[in-house]
Amino acid sequence: MAMKMVLRGNMATAYAAKLARVEVIPAYPITPSTLFPEKISEFVANGELKCQFIKCESEHSAMSACIGASATGARVATATSSQGLALMHEVVFIAAGLRLPIVMAIGNRALSAPINIWCDHQDTIAERDSGWLQFYAEKNQETLDLMLMAFKICEDHRVLLPGMVGMDAFVLTHTMECVDIPEQEEVDRFLPPYKPVYKLDVNNPMTFGAFSSPDNYMEFRYAVHMAMESAVKVIDEVFEEFEKKFGRNYQRVVPFMVEDAEVILVTIGSMTGTAREAVRLLRSKGKKVGLLKITTLRPFPKDLLKKYLKDAKVVVVLERNISLGFGGAVYPEIAAVFANAARRPKIYDFIIGLGGRDIVVEDIVKVYEIAMDALKAKKAEMVEWIGVRKDEIEVIK
Protein backbone atom coordinates (compact mmCIF):
# COMPACT_ATOMS: atom_id res chain seq x y z
CA MET A 1 0.00 0.00 0.00
CA ALA A 2 1.15 3.46 -0.81
CA MET A 3 2.59 5.30 2.14
CA LYS A 4 2.16 8.89 3.26
CA MET A 5 5.14 10.69 4.77
CA VAL A 6 5.78 14.20 6.00
CA LEU A 7 8.72 15.29 3.88
CA ARG A 8 10.78 18.28 2.83
CA GLY A 9 10.92 18.86 -0.95
CA ASN A 10 14.55 17.76 -1.08
CA MET A 11 13.69 14.51 0.67
CA ALA A 12 10.75 13.94 -1.70
CA THR A 13 13.11 14.15 -4.71
CA ALA A 14 15.52 11.74 -2.97
CA TYR A 15 12.61 9.31 -2.51
CA ALA A 16 11.79 9.79 -6.20
CA ALA A 17 15.39 8.90 -7.14
CA LYS A 18 15.17 5.81 -4.93
CA LEU A 19 11.84 4.73 -6.43
CA ALA A 20 13.28 5.30 -9.92
CA ARG A 21 16.14 2.92 -8.99
CA VAL A 22 18.74 5.48 -10.04
CA GLU A 23 22.06 3.72 -10.62
CA VAL A 24 24.58 6.56 -10.34
CA ILE A 25 24.30 9.79 -8.32
CA PRO A 26 27.31 12.10 -8.53
CA ALA A 27 26.71 15.16 -6.34
CA TYR A 28 28.25 18.15 -4.64
CA PRO A 29 26.22 19.70 -1.82
CA ILE A 30 24.97 23.28 -1.94
CA THR A 31 22.28 25.07 0.05
CA PRO A 32 19.33 24.57 -0.36
CA SER A 33 19.83 21.22 -2.17
CA THR A 34 22.19 19.58 0.34
CA LEU A 35 19.51 17.37 1.85
CA PHE A 36 19.26 15.47 -1.45
CA PRO A 37 22.81 13.99 -1.42
CA GLU A 38 22.49 13.56 2.38
CA LYS A 39 19.37 11.46 2.06
CA ILE A 40 20.77 9.52 -0.94
CA SER A 41 23.98 8.67 0.97
CA GLU A 42 21.77 7.46 3.83
CA PHE A 43 19.77 5.24 1.46
CA VAL A 44 22.99 3.83 -0.01
CA ALA A 45 24.61 3.29 3.41
CA ASN A 46 21.48 1.51 4.69
CA GLY A 47 21.39 -0.72 1.64
CA GLU A 48 17.96 0.67 0.67
CA LEU A 49 19.25 1.84 -2.71
CA LYS A 50 21.75 0.01 -4.90
CA CYS A 51 23.49 2.98 -6.42
CA GLN A 52 26.97 4.36 -7.03
CA PHE A 53 27.04 7.56 -4.98
CA ILE A 54 29.99 9.72 -6.10
CA LYS A 55 31.17 12.54 -3.85
CA CYS A 56 32.61 15.08 -6.28
CA GLU A 57 34.98 18.02 -5.71
CA SER A 58 32.73 20.56 -7.45
CA GLU A 59 29.44 20.88 -9.31
CA HIS A 60 31.32 21.01 -12.61
CA SER A 61 32.80 17.61 -11.75
CA ALA A 62 29.43 16.32 -10.55
CA MET A 63 27.75 17.11 -13.88
CA SER A 64 30.78 15.75 -15.77
CA ALA A 65 30.46 12.49 -13.81
CA CYS A 66 26.72 12.46 -14.59
CA ILE A 67 27.54 12.70 -18.30
CA GLY A 68 30.10 9.87 -18.16
CA ALA A 69 27.76 7.66 -16.13
CA SER A 70 24.74 8.36 -18.32
CA ALA A 71 26.81 7.61 -21.45
CA THR A 72 27.38 4.08 -20.12
CA GLY A 73 23.61 3.60 -20.13
CA ALA A 74 22.98 4.06 -16.40
CA ARG A 75 20.04 5.98 -14.97
CA VAL A 76 21.57 9.11 -13.43
CA ALA A 77 20.33 11.88 -11.16
CA THR A 78 21.84 14.73 -9.18
CA ALA A 79 20.77 17.93 -7.43
CA THR A 80 22.10 21.45 -7.18
CA SER A 81 21.18 25.12 -6.80
CA SER A 82 22.19 28.62 -7.78
CA GLN A 83 25.99 29.01 -7.92
CA GLY A 84 26.34 25.25 -8.24
CA LEU A 85 24.18 25.20 -11.37
CA ALA A 86 26.09 28.22 -12.67
CA LEU A 87 29.37 26.34 -12.18
CA MET A 88 27.86 23.39 -14.10
CA HIS A 89 26.84 25.69 -16.96
CA GLU A 90 29.49 24.53 -19.46
CA VAL A 91 28.73 20.83 -19.01
CA VAL A 92 24.96 21.36 -18.75
CA PHE A 93 24.92 22.19 -22.49
CA ILE A 94 27.07 19.13 -23.27
CA ALA A 95 24.62 16.79 -21.48
CA ALA A 96 21.85 18.01 -23.80
CA GLY A 97 24.01 17.90 -26.95
CA LEU A 98 25.04 14.34 -26.13
CA ARG A 99 21.34 13.43 -25.69
CA LEU A 100 21.81 12.03 -22.18
CA PRO A 101 18.60 11.81 -20.10
CA ILE A 102 20.07 12.95 -16.77
CA VAL A 103 17.50 14.22 -14.27
CA MET A 104 18.49 17.00 -11.88
CA ALA A 105 16.54 18.38 -8.93
CA ILE A 106 17.11 22.11 -8.47
CA GLY A 107 16.44 24.06 -5.31
CA ASN A 108 15.69 27.34 -7.08
CA ARG A 109 17.86 29.97 -5.39
CA ALA A 110 19.09 33.48 -6.19
CA LEU A 111 22.42 34.06 -7.90
CA SER A 112 25.16 36.17 -6.30
CA ALA A 113 26.03 39.01 -5.82
CA PRO A 114 24.87 39.88 -3.22
CA ILE A 115 25.14 36.35 -1.91
CA ASN A 116 21.67 35.05 -1.04
CA ILE A 117 20.46 31.52 -0.42
CA TRP A 118 16.71 32.10 -0.76
CA CYS A 119 14.08 31.47 -3.41
CA ASP A 120 14.49 32.95 -6.88
CA HIS A 121 14.23 31.36 -10.34
CA GLN A 122 17.28 33.08 -11.80
CA ASP A 123 19.48 29.96 -11.64
CA THR A 124 17.33 27.76 -13.90
CA ILE A 125 16.22 30.69 -16.07
CA ALA A 126 19.91 31.24 -16.85
CA GLU A 127 20.03 27.62 -18.16
CA ARG A 128 16.80 28.01 -20.14
CA ASP A 129 18.51 27.70 -23.54
CA SER A 130 20.66 24.69 -22.64
CA GLY A 131 18.44 21.98 -24.19
CA TRP A 132 17.24 20.65 -20.81
CA LEU A 133 13.54 20.16 -20.21
CA GLN A 134 12.42 22.39 -17.35
CA PHE A 135 9.69 21.47 -14.88
CA TYR A 136 8.65 23.61 -11.90
CA ALA A 137 6.89 22.23 -8.83
CA GLU A 138 4.31 24.08 -6.74
CA LYS A 139 4.34 21.74 -3.73
CA ASN A 140 6.34 18.82 -2.36
CA GLN A 141 4.10 16.15 -3.87
CA GLU A 142 4.84 17.68 -7.27
CA THR A 143 8.61 17.53 -6.70
CA LEU A 144 8.37 13.75 -6.25
CA ASP A 145 5.88 13.18 -9.08
CA LEU A 146 7.64 15.46 -11.59
CA MET A 147 11.00 13.85 -10.81
CA LEU A 148 9.55 10.37 -11.48
CA MET A 149 7.88 11.54 -14.68
CA ALA A 150 11.00 13.41 -15.79
CA PHE A 151 12.91 10.10 -16.03
CA LYS A 152 10.19 8.58 -18.21
CA ILE A 153 9.90 11.66 -20.44
CA CYS A 154 13.63 12.30 -20.81
CA GLU A 155 14.47 8.64 -21.48
CA ASP A 156 11.79 8.29 -24.17
CA HIS A 157 13.55 7.64 -27.48
CA ARG A 158 11.55 10.44 -29.10
CA VAL A 159 13.13 12.87 -26.61
CA LEU A 160 16.46 11.70 -25.11
CA LEU A 161 17.29 14.97 -23.43
CA PRO A 162 18.12 15.83 -19.82
CA GLY A 163 15.60 17.48 -17.52
CA MET A 164 15.55 19.75 -14.48
CA VAL A 165 12.89 19.75 -11.79
CA GLY A 166 12.79 23.12 -10.08
CA MET A 167 11.48 23.59 -6.56
CA ASP A 168 11.53 26.86 -4.68
CA ALA A 169 14.34 27.24 -2.16
CA PHE A 170 13.15 26.74 1.43
CA VAL A 171 9.48 27.25 0.50
CA LEU A 172 9.62 23.72 -0.94
CA THR A 173 13.12 22.36 -0.34
CA HIS A 174 12.92 22.69 3.45
CA THR A 175 9.22 22.97 4.27
CA MET A 176 7.54 19.79 5.44
CA GLU A 177 4.39 18.63 3.71
CA CYS A 178 2.47 15.41 3.51
CA VAL A 179 3.68 13.48 0.47
CA ASP A 180 2.19 10.33 -1.00
CA ILE A 181 4.99 7.83 -1.68
CA PRO A 182 3.91 5.35 -4.35
CA GLU A 183 4.57 1.63 -4.08
CA GLN A 184 7.84 0.41 -5.59
CA GLU A 185 6.02 -2.17 -7.75
CA GLU A 186 3.71 0.53 -9.14
CA VAL A 187 6.69 2.74 -9.99
CA ASP A 188 8.51 -0.19 -11.61
CA ARG A 189 5.49 -0.78 -13.84
CA PHE A 190 5.36 2.94 -14.73
CA LEU A 191 9.10 3.40 -15.19
CA PRO A 192 10.95 0.46 -16.77
CA PRO A 193 14.78 0.50 -16.82
CA TYR A 194 16.46 3.00 -19.14
CA LYS A 195 17.33 1.58 -22.58
CA PRO A 196 20.04 3.68 -24.23
CA VAL A 197 20.32 3.80 -28.03
CA TYR A 198 24.12 4.03 -27.83
CA LYS A 199 26.35 3.52 -24.83
CA LEU A 200 29.98 3.48 -23.83
CA ASP A 201 30.92 -0.17 -23.96
CA VAL A 202 34.42 -1.66 -23.89
CA ASN A 203 33.33 -4.43 -26.27
CA ASN A 204 32.01 -1.96 -28.83
CA PRO A 205 34.13 1.16 -28.43
CA MET A 206 32.68 4.45 -29.65
CA THR A 207 33.58 8.10 -29.54
CA PHE A 208 31.07 10.17 -27.52
CA GLY A 209 31.24 13.92 -27.96
CA ALA A 210 32.86 14.00 -31.38
CA PHE A 211 33.69 17.25 -33.08
CA SER A 212 31.48 18.75 -35.76
CA SER A 213 32.61 21.20 -38.42
CA PRO A 214 30.35 24.01 -39.73
CA ASP A 215 28.92 21.72 -42.41
CA ASN A 216 27.13 19.54 -39.80
CA TYR A 217 26.79 21.54 -36.57
CA MET A 218 23.44 23.11 -37.47
CA GLU A 219 21.91 19.68 -38.22
CA PHE A 220 22.88 18.45 -34.74
CA ARG A 221 21.35 21.56 -33.13
CA TYR A 222 18.22 21.22 -35.25
CA ALA A 223 17.87 17.59 -34.11
CA VAL A 224 17.98 18.70 -30.44
CA HIS A 225 15.40 21.39 -31.13
CA MET A 226 13.12 18.85 -32.83
CA ALA A 227 13.51 16.49 -29.86
CA MET A 228 12.44 19.35 -27.59
CA GLU A 229 9.39 19.98 -29.79
CA SER A 230 8.57 16.23 -29.75
CA ALA A 231 8.78 16.30 -25.97
CA VAL A 232 5.46 18.20 -25.89
CA LYS A 233 3.55 15.10 -27.02
CA VAL A 234 5.60 12.77 -24.81
CA ILE A 235 4.98 14.96 -21.75
CA ASP A 236 1.23 14.94 -22.39
CA GLU A 237 1.26 11.14 -22.78
CA VAL A 238 3.30 10.58 -19.62
CA PHE A 239 1.15 13.02 -17.59
CA GLU A 240 -1.94 11.11 -18.74
CA GLU A 241 -0.45 7.70 -17.90
CA PHE A 242 0.67 9.01 -14.50
CA GLU A 243 -2.84 10.20 -13.71
CA LYS A 244 -4.28 6.80 -14.68
CA LYS A 245 -1.78 4.95 -12.50
CA PHE A 246 -1.38 7.31 -9.54
CA GLY A 247 -4.49 9.48 -9.68
CA ARG A 248 -2.76 12.85 -9.70
CA ASN A 249 -3.35 15.24 -12.60
CA TYR A 250 -0.52 17.18 -14.24
CA GLN A 251 -0.64 19.59 -17.15
CA ARG A 252 2.04 21.64 -18.88
CA VAL A 253 -0.05 24.69 -18.04
CA VAL A 254 -2.62 24.47 -15.24
CA PRO A 255 -5.65 26.78 -15.54
CA PHE A 256 -7.62 28.08 -12.57
CA MET A 257 -10.87 30.07 -13.06
CA VAL A 258 -9.83 31.23 -16.54
CA GLU A 259 -13.09 30.50 -18.42
CA ASP A 260 -14.60 34.01 -18.24
CA ALA A 261 -11.51 35.79 -16.90
CA GLU A 262 -10.62 39.24 -18.21
CA VAL A 263 -7.40 39.33 -16.23
CA ILE A 264 -5.18 36.23 -16.13
CA LEU A 265 -2.19 35.92 -13.85
CA VAL A 266 0.69 33.68 -14.99
CA THR A 267 2.86 32.12 -12.30
CA ILE A 268 5.62 29.54 -11.84
CA GLY A 269 6.36 27.52 -8.70
CA SER A 270 5.24 27.97 -5.12
CA MET A 271 3.82 31.49 -5.54
CA THR A 272 0.92 29.83 -7.39
CA GLY A 273 -0.79 28.84 -4.14
CA THR A 274 -0.70 32.44 -2.93
CA ALA A 275 -1.93 33.69 -6.30
CA ARG A 276 -4.82 31.18 -6.16
CA GLU A 277 -5.88 32.65 -2.81
CA ALA A 278 -5.69 36.16 -4.30
CA VAL A 279 -7.81 35.05 -7.26
CA ARG A 280 -10.45 33.60 -4.89
CA LEU A 281 -10.46 36.86 -2.91
CA LEU A 282 -10.80 39.01 -6.04
CA ARG A 283 -13.52 36.70 -7.42
CA SER A 284 -15.46 37.13 -4.16
CA LYS A 285 -15.46 40.85 -4.95
CA GLY A 286 -16.81 40.19 -8.43
CA LYS A 287 -13.55 40.68 -10.33
CA LYS A 288 -13.11 38.44 -13.35
CA VAL A 289 -9.64 37.09 -12.58
CA GLY A 290 -8.03 33.78 -13.47
CA LEU A 291 -4.68 32.09 -13.07
CA LEU A 292 -2.32 29.97 -15.17
CA LYS A 293 0.51 28.00 -13.65
CA ILE A 294 3.37 27.05 -15.97
CA THR A 295 4.65 23.55 -15.08
CA THR A 296 6.93 23.07 -18.09
CA LEU A 297 8.88 26.12 -19.18
CA ARG A 298 10.89 24.04 -21.71
CA PRO A 299 9.52 22.92 -24.07
CA PHE A 300 7.65 26.24 -23.94
CA PRO A 301 3.86 25.59 -23.80
CA LYS A 302 2.92 28.11 -26.49
CA ASP A 303 -0.11 26.08 -27.65
CA LEU A 304 -1.73 26.05 -24.20
CA LEU A 305 -0.82 29.66 -23.40
CA LYS A 306 -2.46 30.74 -26.65
CA LYS A 307 -5.55 28.65 -25.90
CA TYR A 308 -6.06 30.01 -22.37
CA LEU A 309 -4.90 33.61 -22.84
CA LYS A 310 -6.35 34.56 -26.23
CA ASP A 311 -9.62 35.99 -24.89
CA ALA A 312 -8.17 37.79 -21.89
CA LYS A 313 -7.96 41.58 -21.74
CA VAL A 314 -4.83 41.60 -19.61
CA VAL A 315 -2.16 38.99 -18.98
CA VAL A 316 -0.15 39.59 -15.83
CA VAL A 317 3.17 37.74 -15.72
CA LEU A 318 4.61 37.26 -12.22
CA GLU A 319 8.31 36.45 -12.30
CA ARG A 320 10.96 35.52 -9.78
CA ASN A 321 13.74 36.39 -12.22
CA ILE A 322 15.04 39.44 -14.01
CA SER A 323 16.85 39.71 -17.32
CA LEU A 324 18.73 42.83 -16.34
CA GLY A 325 18.35 45.60 -18.90
CA PHE A 326 15.11 44.15 -20.22
CA GLY A 327 12.57 42.71 -17.76
CA GLY A 328 11.42 39.24 -16.74
CA ALA A 329 12.44 36.34 -18.97
CA VAL A 330 8.99 34.73 -19.34
CA TYR A 331 7.17 37.95 -20.29
CA PRO A 332 8.75 38.33 -23.78
CA GLU A 333 8.06 34.64 -24.50
CA ILE A 334 4.37 35.05 -23.69
CA ALA A 335 4.33 38.27 -25.72
CA ALA A 336 5.88 36.34 -28.63
CA VAL A 337 2.97 33.88 -28.54
CA PHE A 338 0.73 36.80 -29.57
CA ALA A 339 3.24 38.76 -31.66
CA ASN A 340 1.51 38.02 -34.97
CA ALA A 341 -2.05 37.58 -33.65
CA ALA A 342 -4.76 39.91 -34.95
CA ARG A 343 -6.28 40.25 -31.48
CA ARG A 344 -4.04 40.14 -28.48
CA PRO A 345 -4.24 40.88 -24.77
CA LYS A 346 -2.21 43.57 -23.06
CA ILE A 347 0.71 41.83 -21.41
CA TYR A 348 2.27 43.35 -18.29
CA ASP A 349 5.28 42.08 -16.40
CA PHE A 350 5.82 42.07 -12.65
CA ILE A 351 9.13 41.26 -10.98
CA ILE A 352 8.36 39.89 -7.54
CA GLY A 353 9.88 37.90 -4.67
CA LEU A 354 13.52 38.00 -5.76
CA GLY A 355 16.07 36.60 -3.33
CA GLY A 356 13.38 34.97 -1.20
CA ARG A 357 11.30 38.06 -0.46
CA ASP A 358 7.90 36.85 0.71
CA ILE A 359 5.00 36.99 -1.71
CA VAL A 360 1.71 37.42 0.14
CA VAL A 361 -1.91 37.65 -1.04
CA GLU A 362 -1.87 41.46 -0.66
CA ASP A 363 1.07 41.67 -3.10
CA ILE A 364 -0.89 39.80 -5.75
CA VAL A 365 -3.97 41.99 -5.17
CA LYS A 366 -1.73 45.03 -5.58
CA VAL A 367 -0.37 43.60 -8.84
CA TYR A 368 -3.97 43.21 -10.05
CA GLU A 369 -4.76 46.83 -9.17
CA ILE A 370 -1.63 48.20 -10.88
CA ALA A 371 -2.45 46.14 -13.99
CA MET A 372 -6.05 47.47 -14.06
CA ASP A 373 -4.81 51.06 -13.74
CA ALA A 374 -2.34 50.44 -16.57
CA LEU A 375 -5.13 49.02 -18.73
CA LYS A 376 -7.30 52.10 -18.07
CA ALA A 377 -4.34 54.33 -18.95
CA LYS A 378 -3.84 52.19 -22.12
CA LYS A 379 -0.22 51.57 -21.23
CA ALA A 380 1.52 49.75 -24.10
CA GLU A 381 4.05 47.99 -21.95
CA MET A 382 5.07 47.74 -18.34
CA VAL A 383 7.75 46.04 -16.27
CA GLU A 384 6.97 46.79 -12.63
CA TRP A 385 8.93 45.72 -9.56
CA ILE A 386 6.68 44.83 -6.63
CA GLY A 387 7.72 45.79 -3.13
CA VAL A 388 10.97 47.55 -4.05
CA ARG A 389 11.83 50.67 -2.03
CA LYS A 390 12.90 52.56 -5.13
CA ASP A 391 11.87 56.21 -4.55
CA GLU A 392 15.45 57.46 -4.40
CA ILE A 393 16.74 55.70 -7.54
CA GLU A 394 15.80 57.13 -10.89
CA VAL A 395 17.01 56.31 -14.39
CA ILE A 396 19.51 58.91 -15.60
CA LYS A 397 18.20 60.61 -18.72
Binding site: R99, L160, Y198, P205, M206, T207, F208, N216, F220, A223
Partner: protein, 91 residues
Amino acid sequence: MAFKSVKDVPLGPYCHLESTLINKTGEWRNMRPVLDRSKCIRCYICWKFCPDVAIKILPDGNIEHDYEFCKGCGICANECPKKAITMVREE
Protein backbone atom coordinates in the same frame (compact mmCIF):
# COMPACT_ATOMS: atom_id res chain seq x y z
CA MET B 1 31.69 14.99 -44.96
CA ALA B 2 28.35 16.79 -44.73
CA PHE B 3 25.18 14.85 -43.89
CA LYS B 4 22.58 14.96 -46.67
CA SER B 5 19.69 15.66 -44.29
CA VAL B 6 19.01 15.95 -40.57
CA LYS B 7 17.58 12.41 -40.88
CA ASP B 8 21.09 11.09 -41.54
CA VAL B 9 22.54 12.84 -38.49
CA PRO B 10 23.27 10.36 -35.69
CA LEU B 11 21.38 10.75 -32.40
CA GLY B 12 24.29 12.67 -30.90
CA PRO B 13 27.85 13.48 -31.82
CA TYR B 14 28.81 9.80 -31.53
CA CYS B 15 30.87 7.78 -33.96
CA HIS B 16 32.76 4.56 -34.29
CA LEU B 17 36.47 4.78 -33.71
CA GLU B 18 37.46 4.67 -37.37
CA SER B 19 36.53 8.34 -37.69
CA THR B 20 39.89 9.17 -36.12
CA LEU B 21 41.50 7.28 -39.02
CA ILE B 22 39.35 8.99 -41.67
CA ASN B 23 40.14 12.54 -40.56
CA LYS B 24 43.69 13.17 -41.74
CA THR B 25 44.67 15.79 -39.19
CA GLY B 26 48.15 16.12 -40.70
CA GLU B 27 46.65 18.73 -43.03
CA TRP B 28 46.45 21.14 -40.07
CA ARG B 29 50.25 21.18 -39.60
CA ASN B 30 52.28 24.38 -39.90
CA MET B 31 55.53 23.04 -38.45
CA ARG B 32 56.93 19.67 -39.56
CA PRO B 33 59.09 17.53 -37.24
CA VAL B 34 62.20 16.28 -39.03
CA LEU B 35 64.22 13.47 -37.44
CA ASP B 36 67.99 13.21 -37.67
CA ARG B 37 68.31 9.46 -37.33
CA SER B 38 72.09 9.65 -36.66
CA LYS B 39 71.34 11.42 -33.33
CA CYS B 40 68.43 9.14 -32.28
CA ILE B 41 69.23 6.75 -29.40
CA ARG B 42 65.89 4.89 -29.64
CA CYS B 43 64.75 5.93 -26.13
CA TYR B 44 61.15 6.28 -27.49
CA ILE B 45 60.42 9.25 -25.25
CA CYS B 46 58.91 11.00 -28.30
CA TRP B 47 56.71 7.95 -28.93
CA LYS B 48 55.42 8.08 -25.33
CA PHE B 49 54.74 11.81 -25.41
CA CYS B 50 53.11 12.18 -28.84
CA PRO B 51 49.45 13.14 -28.08
CA ASP B 52 48.28 11.93 -31.50
CA VAL B 53 50.01 8.53 -31.58
CA ALA B 54 51.69 9.84 -34.73
CA ILE B 55 55.12 8.32 -34.09
CA LYS B 56 55.57 4.76 -35.25
CA ILE B 57 58.23 2.29 -34.10
CA LEU B 58 59.46 0.43 -37.19
CA PRO B 59 60.33 -3.30 -37.14
CA ASP B 60 64.04 -2.40 -37.13
CA GLY B 61 63.57 -0.33 -33.94
CA ASN B 62 63.85 3.05 -35.64
CA ILE B 63 61.09 5.62 -35.22
CA GLU B 64 59.17 7.42 -37.96
CA HIS B 65 56.66 10.31 -37.90
CA ASP B 66 53.25 9.61 -39.39
CA TYR B 67 52.73 12.82 -41.36
CA GLU B 68 49.09 11.93 -42.17
CA PHE B 69 48.20 12.52 -38.50
CA CYS B 70 51.04 14.60 -37.00
CA LYS B 71 49.62 18.08 -36.27
CA GLY B 72 53.10 19.54 -35.75
CA CYS B 73 52.70 20.39 -32.05
CA GLY B 74 56.47 19.98 -31.48
CA ILE B 75 56.20 18.04 -28.21
CA CYS B 76 58.46 15.29 -29.62
CA ALA B 77 61.15 17.85 -30.52
CA ASN B 78 60.87 19.44 -27.09
CA GLU B 79 61.12 16.13 -25.23
CA CYS B 80 63.95 14.57 -27.27
CA PRO B 81 67.01 14.38 -24.95
CA LYS B 82 69.40 14.32 -27.95
CA LYS B 83 67.75 17.17 -29.90
CA ALA B 84 67.37 14.75 -32.82
CA ILE B 85 64.06 16.32 -33.96
CA THR B 86 63.89 19.81 -35.46
CA MET B 87 60.71 21.68 -36.36
CA VAL B 88 60.77 23.03 -39.93
CA ARG B 89 58.11 25.40 -41.34
CA GLU B 90 55.86 23.66 -43.88
CA GLU B 91 56.10 25.04 -47.42
